[in-house]
């Protein structure tokens, strides 16, 4: 028993190096301070943070979780998924369904059971797959389960037949595209074009209330911390080393006797579940989920967050998501709006051409080089000192 505990403690100890702990502490401080500045500080104070700001950064934190999920498979296992937005949106839809069921009779049509859009489309009764979504626990389970199962089935088929590289990227893109087309259809029972919106309550609290928003922000920050810890544990374990081996030389890893497909499916499913959680936290904060979340462009944009921050560095993925999305908000909300696509497009090209390690990756690379130089210099100096000392000893003799 204590052996097991010790092993787990050892795992965490190895996973959480100093940089990781600093990152987690920062996140924890943000999770505590931002809601505090929003709720407890009066609106007149210069330290007050508006609810808009809280909702906006809450959204970014959800994107950061998605980025983390992509980095886990792309940065550490070499699987470039251009369809991770699909898992994000599925998680979002699961949460959206829960929120829809919480509206109750407060909809436009005040129907006791059916959501507004079903009344509007003359649905006779609630479809079976909507059953249970009035319970939060069930919805929360589905947030993990639906993306997870889809990723497992898809991954099992794809990786077993050794679909790799760009082929895999293209069919993940086709996957999210097909889902987008499907969710646009009214008769699928997810609100079609308009998606799910007009949410009222989450767990009995009004979604619009500042208190709820602050709590959702804190929850997103906490989920991000949890996701980060999970990713750190995964990548610093033996499992993670095999993932990196697969990334760098898939055939060789297979010949060494590892079941590459199993590793890939597992990490792909884990990543999809994380994306689902991100989507579930995202929906109550933005107040809507519609099929455009499935659009392939969204998924590719998420990949560029990771690329900007630095693939294969988890903090980089988070930082990239925050930076790019802040830039997007900054550009698209002002007179610069027409130029945002130039900036985003330029970012794709510049990062792949000039900064393939990303911001954090490059910084880390420089840091290591600098350290290596310092070590080299100090050993050289020590060597020089030693030889000097021996020389003087000779002289003394």
């Amino acid at each position: 028993m204590s052996d097991g505990l010790a092993a787990i403690a050892n795992l965490f100890g190895r996973a959480l190096d100093r940089a990781s702990i600093a990152f987690l502490v920062t996140l924890a401080v943000v999770a505590a301070v931002v809601p505090l500045l929003n709720l407890a500080v009066p609106a007149t104070s210069p330290f007050h943070l508006s609810s808009y700001f809280v909702a906006l950064f809450g959204k970014y934190l959800c994107y950061a979780i998605l980025a983390l999920a992509i980095d886990l498979i792309w940065g550490y296992c070499g699987i470039l998924s251009l369809g991770h937005g699909a898992f994000f949106a599925l998680g979002g839809y699961a949460m959206g369904m829960y929120l829809m069921r919480q509206i109750g009779t407060r909809g436009v049509y005040a129907h006791p059971i059916l959501p507004d859009f079903m009344v509007f489309l003359n649905w006779p009764e609630l479809p079976v797959y909507w059953y249970g979504f009035d319970h939060f626990v069930y919805a929360a389970f589905m947030v993990l389960f639906v993306p997870g199962v889809l990723a497992f089935v898809f991954g099992w088929f794809a990786f077993r037949s050794r679909v790799t590289g760009v082929y895999l990227s293209i069919i993940t893109q086709a996957l999210t595209y097909a889902l987008m087309l499907g969710f646009f259809r009214n008769n699928l029972g997810f609100g079609g074009n308009n998606g799910l919106t007009d949410f009222k309550d989450i767990l009995g609290f009004n979604v619009q209330a500042p208190g709820t928003r602050a709590a959702l922000f804190a929850a997103s920050a906490f989920a991000l911390m949890l996701g980060f810890v999970i990713c750190r544990v995964v990548v610093s374990s033996k499992f993670g080393k095999v993932l990196v081996a697969i990334r760098d030389a898939e055939a060789r890893t297979r010949f060494l006797g590892y079941r590459v497909e199993a590793y890939k499916v597992l990490v792909f499913t884990l990543s999809a579940c994380m994306a689902g959680v991100a989507g579930a936290l995202y929906v109550p904060q933005v107040g809507i989920i519609n099929p455009s979340e499935f659009s392939p462009a969204n998924s590719i944009e998420a990949v560029i967050w990771v690329a900007v921050g630095g693939r294969g560095t988890l903090t980089g993925a988070v930082l990239g998501a925050l930076l790019v999305n802040y830039g997007k908000t900054y550009f698209t909300s002002g007179v610069l709006a027409p130029y945002w696509l130039f900036v985003l497009g330029g970012l794709f090209i510049a990062v792949t051409l000039l900064l393939p390690r990303g911001v954090v990756g490059t910084a880390r690379h420089w840091w290591r080089e600098w350290q290596a130089r310092r070590v080299a210099a100090s050993t050289a100096r020590n060597g020089a000192l030693a030889s000097e000392a021996s020389a003087s000893a000779h002289a003394a003799e």
């Binding site: 470039l80 251009l82 898809f154 088929f157 794809a158 077993r160 037949s161 050794r162 679909v163 590289g165 760009v166 082929y167 990227s169 293209i170 069919i171 893109q173 086709a174 996957l175 595209y177 097909a178 087309l181 499907g182 646009f184 259809r185 055939a251 392939p296 590719i300 990949v303 560029i304 690329a307 027409p338 130029y339 696509l341 130039f342 985003l344 497009g345 330029g346 970012l347 794709f348 090209i349 990062v351 792949t352 051409l353 393939p356």
Partner: protein
């Protein structure tokens, strides 16, 4: 405003007809108390019953003016004067013609002129009467049109005229139409015997189109049992026939869609095949081609409107050069630094596609641009019972020409030889003295240029907007992935298979669901054959 234009053309023609017939009428002496005059007199009674009688008598009179009078009646241009018992026609240039001889009247028109009134029942009769009158027209096209009108209206009043017309008809096609029209009249004639009706059904069954089906389906309840049975059999057989035609029509749509997919995918297949590079900006090359067409047409409209019909002939090389040049610049500027990193290439070209789209949006605005069809590409014709639009036909021809051209280039030119060598084994090709980086640039230029050509074709059938390429990019990927890399025949087969499968699924599943099914099928197909229908074999595969 094509409707307005057609109306005007029709009016002009009517005026010409009226004048010509006026001259003709002037030549024949008209001062006889003929059945024609008698018929005209009935219009002055201002009673619907008398008007009907008048129309029937006009038709029976055989007078060449009858058609003009009834035409005027239909357009509300027929007036009568109750005081003088005379009938007048107001022609399209607001002159008054005397209906008795078709000549302009001398002096002022009578003061008490009132239009001959029509109601809905009368309008039907007027239309049928005009139909049977034109059955005798000297122009075969008009006779055919009239026969078709009677076929649809199955007006019993037209029967005598039909019989007359059939006896005189020499044109086989018109005769067939007349016989069919007669069959339709008989089928709906209460007085006709059952064997006659069954024979008529046989006639209509041979026609076998949607109209025949409507005719047979619309039989009144009072029809006798054997006729009903014959009609039901005929309906079943026509429906079978129609199903075959519908399948052929779907096939045609599928070929058309397939050719569009092929055009969009060929370029992608080449760059992917030779360089292993997924070019996400490929759709934007297509868009550049479409905008080049737009610009060429604008210049022609402004400078040399006479050349408009040749605008595509100018746009084709222009689009190839524009898109090809952009392609070479992109290869030299971005892609060559990313060889061996296909995933990064994918991201960089995606960024490029965003920039190209936004540039075009900034330069030309976000709205759709109007690219015209040259006259030889517009219009349609019927083949059996499928409608073939000329622009789709030309696009298929164009696609096949491009395909053949590309195949020829790969097989018979030095560049093609070198491209194939690089595709098969880059390292060996390089050691044989092929400058692979030059081949890469040219290949990328060629692939992009062909995308530009696709843009010219797509500008003829799709909206030219900055998002044009986006709509095709995923489909093109599917074609390439399905067909296999490095083999143009695979791309050809892939494109047409996907196009036809898509169009065959559409009637059953709807356009969107059809597309989803196709995507899912491809995803499943990839599991079975991860490298497409025609996969390259050998060492190149793992490289």
């Amino acid at each position: 405003m094509p409707g307005l234009k057609e109306m005007r053309a029709l009016c002009d023609r009517l005026v010409a007809l009226v004048l010509a017939l006026g001259v003709f009428a002037a030549a024949v002496a008209t001062s006889r108390a003929t059945p024609y005059d008698d018929a005209l007199a009935r219009f002055t009674a201002d009673s619907f019953a008398e008007t009907i009688e008048g129309i029937n008598r006009l038709v029976a009179s055989g007078n060449p003016l009858a058609a003009i009078v009834i035409g005027a009646l239909q357009d509300g241009r027929l007036f009568f004067s109750a005081a003088t018992k005379r009938v007048f026609i107001k022609d399209t240039s607001e002159r008054w013609l005397d209906a008795a001889d078709g000549r302009p009247i001398v002096g002022a028109a009578p003061a008490d002129l009132a239009p001959v009134r029509l109601n809905n029942r009368l309008r039907g009769i007027v239309a049928a009467a005009l139909g049977s009158l034109t059955l005798m027209s000297p122009d075969p096209a008009r006779r055919l049109e009239a026969a078709r009108a009677v076929f649809k209206s199955h007006d019993p009043n037209a029967l005598p005229a039909l019989d007359q017309a059939i006896a005189k008809e020499t044109d086989a096609r018109v005769k067939q139409a007349l016989l069919e029209a007669r069959a339709s009249v008989i089928l709906y004639l209460d007085s006709a015997s059952d064997p006659d009706k069954i024979e008529a059904i046989g006639m209509i069954r041979q026609r076998g189109d949607q109209e025949a089906l409507a005719l047979l389906g619309g039989l009144p309840g009072s029809t006798s049992a054997p006729v009903k049975k014959a009609a039901a059999e005929a309906i079943a057989s026509i429906e079978n026939g129609l199903a075959v035609w519908a399948a052929l029509q779907n096939m045609w749509y599928g070929l058309s869609l397939g050719s569009v997919l092929l055009l969009a995918a060929i370029g992608l297949a080449i760059t992917f095949g030779v360089m292993g590079v997924i070019n996400m900006a490929h759709g934007e090359m297509v868009m550049l081609g479409a905008y080049t067409t737009f610009v060429v047409q604008e210049v022609i409209r402004a400078r040399q409107p006479a050349l408009f019909d040749y605008s595509l002939a100018i746009a084709i090389p222009a689009a190839f050069v524009v898109a090809g040049t952009v392609g070479i610049l992109v290869e030299r500027g971005i892609i060559r630094f990313l060889y061996g990193r296909p995933l990064e290439t994918l991201l960089a070209t995606w960024g490029l596609s965003l920039i190209l789209q936004q540039s075009i949006r900034t330069a030309f605005g976000p709205t759709n641009k109007d690219v015209g069809n040259p006259s030889w590409m517009s219009g349609a014709f019927e083949l059996g019972q499928i409608t073939i639009t000329n622009n789709r036909l030309w696009i298929i021809v164009f696609t096949l020409l491009v395909f053949a051209g590309l195949l020829g280039l790969l097989r018979f030119t030095r560049l093609g030889l070198e491209m194939r060598a690089v595709t098969q084994n880059r390292a060996m090709a390089a050691s044989m003295g092929i400058r692979t980086s030059r081949i890469d640039a040219l290949t990328f230029g060629l692939g992009s240029g062909i995308a530009g050509l696709a843009g010219v074709a797509l500008s003829q059938i799709d909206n030219v907007s900055p998002n044009l390429g986006q709509g095709y990019i995923i489909d093109s990927f599917m074609v390439v992935v399905f067909g296999g890399v490095g083999n143009l025949w695979g791309t050809l087969l892939g494109a047409f298979t996907l196009g036809i499968a898509n169009k065959f699924l559409e009637p059953y599943a709807g356009a969107v669901l059809g597309k989803i099914i196709i995507l899912v099928l491809i995803i499943l197909f990839i599991q079975k054959r991860p490298r497409g229908l025609f996969a390259l074999k050998g060492r190149a595969v793992e490289a």
